[in-house]
Symmetry: C2
Subunit: 466 residues, 2 copies
């Protein structure tokens, strides 16, 4: 151990001592806890933090941030650990800030259609808490992520085509800055033109600009009727074109999910269902009973012109939930296609007009790749996922996966798309950020340096090392 | 003239010389042009710039920014001059950057539901350009503002309750930074989790962080049926409650505008209409023919329980346009209530549950004020306007108007609302920003200093002087 490492180790030990004095049992250096907090759903090599803190309030987070800053200890917010680009990995060591004890629903304002929660509240917990109100929180990334984590990665999911993403649904945030200041980014008004949009600056900042401790979100009125449908198609292009044409016709589809035949096979095996092994669309329509019927008929007609068949309804809550559960299980179902494997779950987003071409070309890549890569996603937004199954211990597997991912991203960028629609940059997409946004990345780095001059807030994420 | 002023005058003269060499006739120091660019729709004292530039490209804007920076000359972007909080006033002199010659529609991507325009394109011009596509751009602040100006003030308007504000509808921006860098904030994908949300940082920045030169916006499909309705109520509270209950029921109202009896009187006189002089709601419904009918029936039933009467339809385009033209003319109609007057057009936004109470209390203030102050606005968002008619030359009038505005804003803040829903801070609301957002304002100032260390980008706006 050289002198510099020595100094670091000593600073970390001092920091941990101060954190223990502050938090008592809510500071853990236990190996199990550290390992749990050093990995996420990605196939990236785990990186354990030196300790894990379980704060209970914004003020406690502030005190933790102050201790970490004084001792140069990195700090990595941790929600449910469901990130897929390595966002929670402690690549430079430091403290994992587990938000799970900040899980109070602070206020539900039914009449205002909003709710304020601590950052550790999960989306299911929130929906459970407001079930009696006739309102719901629509953002649904599949996993039962925390609201803080979802805000930090600008998450979205199946409902985004109608209800927007975290960008559109966060009204205000409480954030602890790197220097210990606590700010509230906005009031509860549904609109405001007062000053810079700090809310949106922190939504999607992946813990690199500060720690989100409270989130105020918009809620939406449950519709009188919610009805789901499935439909299958001979080719991916037919399925995708059906969605694009529906959107372009102005039909307010609430969900429109594409699943390739491989995904269908995985779901059938995992959920004991029996969908024919062909490309499928899963739809959901929200509105009045009459309106929902009308929407579905219009979409069914569009599907028919694209060789869609087997249009099936699921209007009862139970059938509907079953269908969406199957969709949500797609990721885990796909993992079972190759037992014991991990996945590189990558996503891109392209303008709607290029989506069919992008998916068809990706399908060609999958064929050339020769391995199992299910494709599914939120085609109404131009956003889809590829789940590259792999063995992280096999360098050849990893190299092939990276090459596939690179081709996918480069194709999306050529099509004026984004290297990630909803997973974020984390570690896995850092190398593509400049290709996507050019000199704008310099400005992002300047903002990062302004807010976190010591580079302690989730360091190593979003940007490539200098 | 002291030495410092002398130096300044000499620097400005040099800058103007360089600008003239760059722009030729597109640089004006003509008194008429300077005076025109030194005022907006507010009642604030005009402040003329020292010159006016008419750039034709982003690169030209960059060259202008570089000249201004070298000589310490402030630079104020100017769209259509329709701001209402003094945003375009050259309070520290400098150069007005008139964007009217950057008025090309660069691309309409029908299939992607987006369009890219130069910042000087107005919303009507854009809608005219896409009329054949079956798409429309919904944001509608009344005035025929430029897209650049609307982005800069985070504008919204009558359709925001359904289609969102500029915050939700800008996909990407091209911005010239104070140091001359040109950045593109995002690609054209409808969703992205790639890096910090620079788009939203510039939306609402009121020209203080850089010059917006190009705007890519979302377009929306025209609905099969668009139908408008009017309804009157015995009290303001009844009208406002009708909208709140409709929103809470999940009815996807496209527009819901409240107009007080004074506003109705003004509109009747201005537009030769004959609405009874009572509080009114103007509605619009978008959807399928069947869906629109259903929405309207639901709203009509809610109105009836709130003593609404005289529910009238306007389903033909012409009637509909007439109705909304009257609404859009409200501001100018109100000015005619006191011929020769100017107006302090102020707006606040509160959570829906407080809106009725807020408007009723404001009505009390209007009665106490003893002068004519029409109230109208976008009640579906919790956002309303008060048009305080005044003579800017009369100090008593001005003092009373400021006192009224202060009470209005303070009431909104107590109700967890915002000091401005859509007009922006400009000069007129600077004194309220800290009361609304506390220490978050310090972070905004730090961002301002980072991006504009010389304080040359629309200086004096948004923040109180140090």
């Amino acid at each position: 151990m050289n002198q510099r490492q020595d100094l670091h180790a000593s600073a970390v030990a001092t920091a941990i001592g101060e954190l223990r004095a502050l938090l008592g049992e809510r500071l853990s250096t236990n190996k199990g806890a550290r390992e749990h907090h050093g990995k996420d759903e990605s196939s990236l090599a785990p990186a354990a933090p030196e300790a894990v803190a379980f704060p209970r309030s914004t003020e406690e987070v502030r005190d933790i941030v102050n201790i970490c800053r004084r001792h140069g200890m990195p700090l990595i917010p941790f929600g449910a650990g469901t990130s897929v680009e390595g966002q929670v990995l402690a690549v430079r060591g430091g403290l994992s800030l587990d938000m799970s004890r900040m899980n109070r629903v602070l206020a539900v304002h039914e009449a205002d259609l909003d709710a304020s929660v601590e950052a550790g509240v999960t989306r299911r917990q929130l929906n459970e808490a407001i079930r009696h109100t006739g309102l719901f929180f629509p953002i649904d990334p599949g996993a039962d992520a925390t609201l803080g984590g979802m805000a930090a990665t600008r998450a979205s999911g199946t409902n985004a085509v109608r209800y927007g993403t975290m960008r559109e649904n966060v009204l205000a945030l409480t954030v602890v800055l790197a220097d210990g200041r606590i700010i509230r980014t906005a009031r509860r008004a549904r609109k405001s033109s007062a000053g810079y949009d700090l809310t949106r600056l922190f939504v999607g900042s992946e813990g690199t600009l500060g720690v989100i401790t409270e989130v105020t979100v918009r809620l939406h009125a449950m519709q009188e009727a919610m009805s789901a449908a499935v439909c299958r198609f001979p080719t991916m292009a037919d399925a995708v074109n059906t969605v694009i044409q529906s959107i372009q016709s102005g039909i307010p589809i609430a969900r429109s999910e594409f699943l390739c035949q491989t995904t269908i096979r995985a779901i059938n095996a995992y959920s004991k269902s029996s969908h024919p092994e062909e490309p499928h669309l899963f739809f959901e329509f929200h509105g009045t009973a009459e309106g929902v019927k009308e929407q579905a008929e219009l979409v069914q007609a569009i599907a028919a012109t694209n060789s869609g068949s087997g249009f099936q309804w699921a209007s009862h809550t139970e059938e509907r939930n079953q269908l969406w559960q199957a969709r949500h299980d797609a990721y885990f179902a796909c993992l079972q296609l190759r037992p014991g494997s991990r996945a590189m779950a990558t996503d891109v987003c392209v303008p709607l007009s290029r989506l069919t071409e992008c998916i068809v070309a990706t399908q060609g890549d999958v064929a050339a790749h020769g391995a199992t890569i299910p494709i599914f996603g939120h085609v109404g937004d131009g956003n889809f996922h590829c789940v590259v199954l792999l063995d992280p211990e096999d360098p050849k597997d990893m190299a092939r996966a990276h090459a596939f991912n690179r081709r996918l991203v480069e194709r999306a960028l050529v099509m004026e798309g984004s290297c990630t629609g909803e997973h974020g940059i984390g570690l896995g997409k850092r190398q593509y950020l400049r290709a996507e946004l050019g000199e704008a990345v310099d400005l992002m780095r300047e903002v990062k340096r302004l807010l976190d001059p010591g580079d302690l807030m989730n360091p190593g994420k979003v940007f490539m090392p200098d």
